[in-house]
């Protein structure tokens, strides 16, 4: 080699969030080792909050790099950056709920916060990853942390069982992911998605035979692995059990953070293939199929649930299904362009619009989930419906907040407009715009089915008389009282109120968020020059 030392090109701002999260996690460990039980219960939330907030801020700072950085391992575009912001918001929400959860179930606070921060690190890395091995390692950092967070409540058999199921199925799914990465390597000779993209762009029409098939298999296997993390039907079977068994903050984390991360990576991954024209039609179909399966399965199964967290699990399956509509449009764009339906100059603009729709939906879903799970956590009761009977008569604010969350999730929050409605509206709008009316109609029909269970929860909260025996003294409240936990309460309340306000603010002014996306340089359009067959 010519030079003695290899100096990788490091963009310091680009890795600032990683450093901050890593340092935060380490500091948590160190602080836990140095202070006693009570001390670490007080200090660790602060440390992890600061670390997460610092990471969030470094994403929001104007100079955050765009495009590839750190040896092409990561790719930062507006969508993945917004994904990271959403992830960190959900991580912060989880942290804020932490102190009460730790006291309620007497959890080991050191590990609890450390793992939250490390999981956030994994998620952020995954969301930005543009290389299969880093993505895999990031995925595992995230997953392992979440498995343990799920099972961290050692006094609960359910928690252990949930952790166990999550782990078994998660490991199963990551095996598919790795196998798929192998095939991608085989067909494109690289694990770097940017290179794969170039490869498909230049040789997509003239690939060695066999390599095409490997690429197909690669996409299928990796896609399946990601679908598991996204809990799309039929890869969602773990979700209800894990959501029910895990402690509520972790449930929130799994439902939002890990999904957003996997989703952002899915976009990167699909983008690598987007330059390959023959590929778009099958992928469009499969993504559409999975979207339909998720929307119907999720919504129908949610109807018959009697546990709130299970219901939210199925609802989140359906919500992710809705997101896949946008992915479907996104992957179909190049073929639409090739067919002459779109003109090349507008395609970048169209892509941006679709990205806006997805990011808005993701953000909305996350905020609503924070509100819904946060209230479930706030009132205690761990998802049992008994806690919600006549909630309005006991805790009017909580009931109204939950009702807002439900209205918003169902997409019925029409007026005053909520983020849930606007998000769905934009998604369906994009689908209709590109002549995918069928899937939009299915989406709307399943939303109607969904309205049934969302509204029935509202009825339960507002119309039923409170169940005095089961509803009032809820799980964990006693421990909290003993611990004299006032401060944590207020923080959670502020968080919930902020989420509520955001639901309306973003519903009223989606541009606040999509504007952020538009400002943040260009998102990669899902196409490049086509090679003639």
């Amino acid at each position: 080699m010519e030079t003695a030392a290899y100096v990788p090109a490091i963009n310091l701002h680009g890795i600032l969030p990683f450093i901050s999260l890593l340092a935060g996690g380490m500091l948590c460990l160190a602080a836990d080792a140095m202070s006693g039980k009570e001390g670490s219960r007080r200090i660790l939330p602060v440390i992890s909050f600061v670390a997460l907030a610092a990471a969030l801020v470094s994403f929001l700072l104007p100079g955050y790099p765009t495009g590839s950085f750190l040896e092409n391992t990561f790719y930062s575009d507006s969508f993945s950056r917004l994904g990271c912001i959403v992830i960190l918001v959900s991580a912060i929400a989880t942290t804020l709920m932490g102190p009460r959860q730790v006291i309620r179930r007497n959890l080991p606070s050191g590990e609890y916060y450390t793992l939250i921060v490390f999981a956030a690190l994994g998620m952020v890395l995954l969301a930005l990853a543009n290389e299969m091995l880093s993505a895999f390692v990031a995925l595992e950092i995230m997953s392992l942390s979440l498995y343990v967070l799920t099972g961290i409540d050692r006094r609960s058999g359910k928690s252990a069982e949930a952790s166990f199921k999550y782990f078994i199925l998660g490991a199963f799914a990551s095996a598919f992911f790795v196998f798929g990465s192998g095939f991608l390597f085989g067909s494109t000779r690289t694990t770097f998605l940017a290179d794969a993209h170039n490869y498909f762009a230049t040789r997509g029409g003239n690939m060695p035979e066999g390599a095409e098939m490997w690429a197909f298999i690669a996409f299928g296997l990796v896609f399946v692995g990601l679908c598991f993390k996204l809990s799309l039907a039929p890869f969602h079977m773990w979700a209800p059990d894990v959501y029910e068994g895990a402690n509520t903050p972790t449930t929130l984390y799994i439902a939002t953070g890990s999904k957003v991360a996997a989703f952002a990576f899915l976009i990167h991954f699909a983008h690598a293939f987007s330059s390959w024209q023959i590929f778009t039609a099958p992928v469009t179909f499969i993504v559409g199929l999975i979207a339909v399966a998720s929307m119907t399965w999720g919504n129908i199964a949610a109807i018959v649930q009697s546990n709130l967290k299970r219901m939210l699990a199925y609802s989140s399956v359906a919500q992710t299904g809705y997101m896949m509509i946008a992915v479907m449009v996104l992957v179909a764009l190049p073929s639409l362009q090739a067919a002459g339906n779109l003109n090349a100059t507008t395609i970048a603009n169209d892509t941006t619009l679709i990205y806006n729709a997805i990011s808005l939906y993701l953000a909305g879903y996350t905020i609503i989930s924070i509100l819904a799970f946060g209230i479930a956590f706030h009132i205690g009761g761990e998802g049992s419906m008994a806690a919600y009977r006549g909630l309005f008569h006991r805790k009017p604010f909580a009931a109204v907040g939950m009702a807002i969350a439900m209205f918003s999730l169902s997409g019925l929050g029409f007026l005053p407009p909520t983020i849930g409605f606007i998000g769905k509206f934009y998604l369906f709008k994009e689908a209709v715009r590109f002549n995918m009316t069928g899937i939009a109609v299915i989406g709307i029909l399943t939303s109607v089915i969904a309205a049934f269970y969302y509204l029935s929860l509202i009825v339960t909260m507002f119309m039923k008389a409170p169940d005095e025996e089961n509803g009032i003294e809820l799980a964990g409240r006693r421990e909290e009282r003993i611990a004299g936990l006032g401060g944590g309460d207020a923080i959670v309340r502020v968080m919930l109120a902020t989420a509520t306000a955001l639901i309306f603010v973003l519903g009223l002014y989606p541009g606040l968020f999509t504007g952020l996306a538009a400002k943040a340089v260009t998102t990669k359009p899902m196409t490049t020059a086509m090679v003639k067959k």
């Binding site: 392992l144 359910k158 166990f164 490991a171 095996a175 192998g182 000779r189 649930q305």
Partner: protein, 101 residues
Amino acid sequence: MTSLLQPNLILATLLFTIGILGVMWKRNAIALFMSVELMLNAANLAFVSFAHELGIMSGGILVLFVMTVAAAEAGVGLAIFIALFRARRHIRVDEHDTLHG
């Protein structure tokens, strides 16, 4: 020299399939998890043979990563099994169905 790519890929797929079957058939959680390890090994094999065929000497790199991940997974997974065992006194996977519906 004869390319071993095709037979190796077939072998990898076969091992992967056997791993999947193990995941679906085994009742003992540890045995089940060993099947997952088998799947990961199959992926390794595919990767190495691709690399070999492509003449990329560093193809073994993925193996190193997968190994690390496998080790990490094994550590956490076995710990989870122990926790489950402590809670329920057995780790027969099909009998842990408290969470259902």
